[in-house]
Amino acid sequence: MATLVASAPAARKLAPDEWVARGGVVAFAVWLLITIALPLWALLSKSFQNRDGAFVGLANYLTYFSNSALFSSFENSLVVSIIATMVTLPGAFLYAYALTRSNMKAKGLFSALALIPILAPSLLPALALIYLFGNQGLLRSLLLGHSIYGPLGIIIAEAFYTFPHALLILVTALRTADARLFESAAALGASPRRIFLTVTLPGVRYGILSAALVTFTLVMTDFGAPKVIGGRFNVLATDVYKQVIGQQNFQIGAVVGMMLLLPAVLSFAAEQFTRRRQTAQLTAQAVPLVPKPNPLSDWLFTGFCILIIIPIAGILATAAWASFIKFWPYNLTLGLGNYAFAKFETAGWLPYWNSLRLAAWTAVVGTALIFTGAYLQEKTRGLPIVRAIVQLFAMLPLAVPGLVLGLSYIFFFNHPRNPLVFLYGTMAILVINTVAHFYTVGHLTAVTALKQLDSEFEAVSASLRAPFYRTFWKVTVPVCLPAILDIAIYMFVNAMTTVSAVIFLWVPQTRVSSIAVVYLDDAGHQGSAAAMSMMIVYTSAAVKVLHLLLVRALANTQAWRKR
């Protein structure tokens, strides 16, 4: 023994809890493989196969590109996404600037109002726009003869839908400013305009790029808005649905899926690249910037924010109003008739209860899985190769549109030779899919929280002979509870509002409310569709309020959180 150790590299004996940790990391890698990597592989291979499953090379792609009707949707998607990004970004930037760098009043209120669209599915703004500008719309004359059905409607709906996402990124970018740079610039006699161009903008350019890429990808891959308001204007997202559900053409469906995946992956790569550059800019000694009062600009910013809030609140109010109107446009008296869903479709309230179940399961299972996985990944040791794979798979979902993931799930889980085929058509597969779809943001939240913990907790517990899972349960989870709640709420709200991730996977027993909105709208029951959309908003909002109360309660009852 002694001579062997002295000559060959020693391998340390593993403690029982280290075996548990390694087992956990492997199980976790397998889980990510099954729920993320293998389905995507199934999609990729499907796009190179014919109906009988034989490899045909690029034949499907050639069919796709030679079909001008199909290819034009690619161009449509691109144009709509670019314009929607160009519309959303400047507004979101100024709004974020007002929230972070001005001294205007009621910032909390403005920030809360602007974030409301996050609680709604993208179907909601599209429905509301139809009430406002549709064939029988209230404000139709404002369009001067243009039709809301098509690119115009999609762009406005997407601007509503993506605004809070862009805003959150820009607020984060603008908040992390070093006051010393501004003071130095001012001391050197730079004008406010010059300071803005030479200090402010360069400091947030990666934030702006990141917001632009996120907005672009969200629009490109959104299914809800174009489905409701797109009319005969085809985009990739609606195409893939038509090919797969309408024509059962899985091969072309797979190709369209790959076309959707491509821009998402590209912007994801660009985003990752810029994120790496951004972190290098901030130093530990940075002094936070405290905006100085300036009555004129503060009022201008307030005015601007009100200008932005009016359409956002207006769209939301219209949807709420529409959900209570008895019979548009002939009987405008208010009532709860639209909420009697059984009158409009046989499933009645079932989709709503299904959504609650899906959201609750996704929040509970997803959060437990994501946090435990992130903990094992960050805080235990060994198996470096498995860990690298986990790292890759955990970041992948951010680049995969929900529609693409859903499509991949059909190909993978519905394959007759897959032993997991029994999952198909169950609530479980909806939960698995939704967890996988929103995995990355939750994972990053967990990792950020875990990185703030002392890196020696695990070493200390080992020296005290406490297995890592005891410390995980006794220390890590309690300390990270706010982050865990953040992940849970994120999973819940997204599971409530998502359309694209589940559109391919539901069966009548597991139909959820966002799908019900699509079908109610298809069947001409716009009022009821609005009512179902609003049910999603009410629920998400209620859960969000509950979350805020819980966070406040945690801060007040746990003495050790006070500094």
Partner: protein, 375 residues
């Protein structure tokens, strides 16, 4: 079940008294092509406090982590009380650890933190309570059991971390830069507290630090490391008085270096002067050498005074350091060489020292160390 303080370490397998408690034998560690530790060997006698001293990046933290079991050595053995523990996981090594950050669990009270390691030891609730109270009394925080770490001062947190590490009566205490997060004054006080606690409990201790003052005041023996290798092992006095390498001479305390030539056994020519020096370690005559001596060993006299082993110097700078002056001296025949000397306040007054004045600097032969000059 132990009821007495943690001092009663298990002595199983330790052999007769005086046998090393922990033996580090030929430990190597490579990270890829970088060798972090080269053939590190030393012993820790039972009850001693050993200090691993070295600049950042010298490998001392890597060595500490290997001893803890957090890293695995590429080669070499660790033996504790006669038992090979080279490949044991941290939990089976029976070591208590205090990290630089303390790593106190923020959501547990002081009591909960100290009791954390007692959970796995089949102790009754009452036994745990009495053990924790005993330790809290020991560190002078018996009233703070219900407080959370964030409510304590840095020094109190440090002591709680120490109590937590000591609670399961570990056979070896490992302290990783335990005082460096504290302010200077508190650090000096806690040095004495930690040291007297360690002495009282007679717990074998290894302390890692880059602070030579900490090592000199606290350690029974110091292991000086540089670039992954041990430069010298010795008592604080040995390391300070008789540094074995130029690195140790430079790293521990203030030191003057002068280049010269060995002109005869025990005689060197430096900065234009012939000086008697200490043992020349068998270096051949005419070797290029580097001599070193400490500023406090330089005896400054007026140019007219009688002086042996001396050289004429001119004061180029005089810095007031509170209880003494540090003079920067240029040997008048020595070109660009400079020598620092500590001058007592009264001597500065007597000789009316000021920059520009010339003096005689006398160097006691037995305080001059000599090394071969390899540059």
């Amino acid at each position: 079940m132990r009821t007495e303080p943690a001092g009663s370490r298990p002595t199983h397998g330790a052999g007769h008294v005086g046998a090393p408690y922990l033996q580090v034998e030929g430990v190597w560690k490579a990270f890829g092509s970088f060798t972090a530790l080269k053939d590190v060997t030393f012993d820790i006698p039972p009850g001693d406090l050993i200090c691993l001293l070295g600049p950042s990046g010298c490998g001392k933290t890597t060595l500490m982590r290997i001893i803890m079991g957090l890293e695995t050595q590429t080669r070499g053995r660790l033996i504790r009380g006669g038992r090979d523990i080279s490949v044991l996981p941290p939990a089976e090594r029976d070591f208590g650890i205090v990290f630089q950050s303390y790593a106190l669990f923020p959501n547990l009270t002081v009591f909960g933190n100290v009791a954390y390691g007692l959970h796995s030891r089949r102790m009754s609730r009452a036994q745990v309570r009495s053990r924790v109270e005993e330790l809290l009394t020991l560190i002078g925080l018996s009233d703070s059991g219900g407080k959370y770490p964030a409510q304590l001062s840095g020094g109190q947190q440090q002591r709680v971390a120490l109590a937590r590490a000591l609670a399961p009566s570990p056979s070896l205490l490992l302290l990783d830069e335990p005082l460096s997060a504290l302010d200077a004054r508190l650090r000096v006080r806690l040095r004495h507290e930690v040291r007297s606690l360690q002495r009282r409990l007679r717990v074998t201790t290894m302390l890692v630090t880059h602070d030579q003052e900490e090592a000199l005041t606290m350690a029974d023996r110091i292991v000086v490391m540089n670039r992954g290798e041990i430069e010298q092992i010795g008592t604080p006095m040995e390391v300070y008085r008789a540094p074995r390498t130029p690195f140790v001479a430079d790293f521990v305390g203030e030191m003057n270096f002068l280049d010269g030539v060995l002109v005869a056994p025990g005689r060197v020519r430096v900065a234009g002067a012939d000086l008697q020096c200490g043992p020349t370690n068998g270096l051949p005559v005419q070797t290029a050498v580097r001599i070193c001596f400490r500023p406090e060993d330089v005896d400054v006299r007026s140019p007219s005074a009688e002086a042996t082993n001396a050289m004429p110097v001119e004061i180029t700078a005089l810095d007031f350091l509170g209880s003494f002056y540090r003079a920067t001296l240029r040997p008048t025949a020595g070109g660009a060489a400079e020598v620092r000397a500590d001058v007592p306040i009264h001597l500065q007054r007597e000789l009316d020292l000021a920059p520009g004045k010339t003096l005689t600097a006398s160097l006691p032969a037995d305080r001059i160390r000599i090394f071969a000059n390899r540059d």
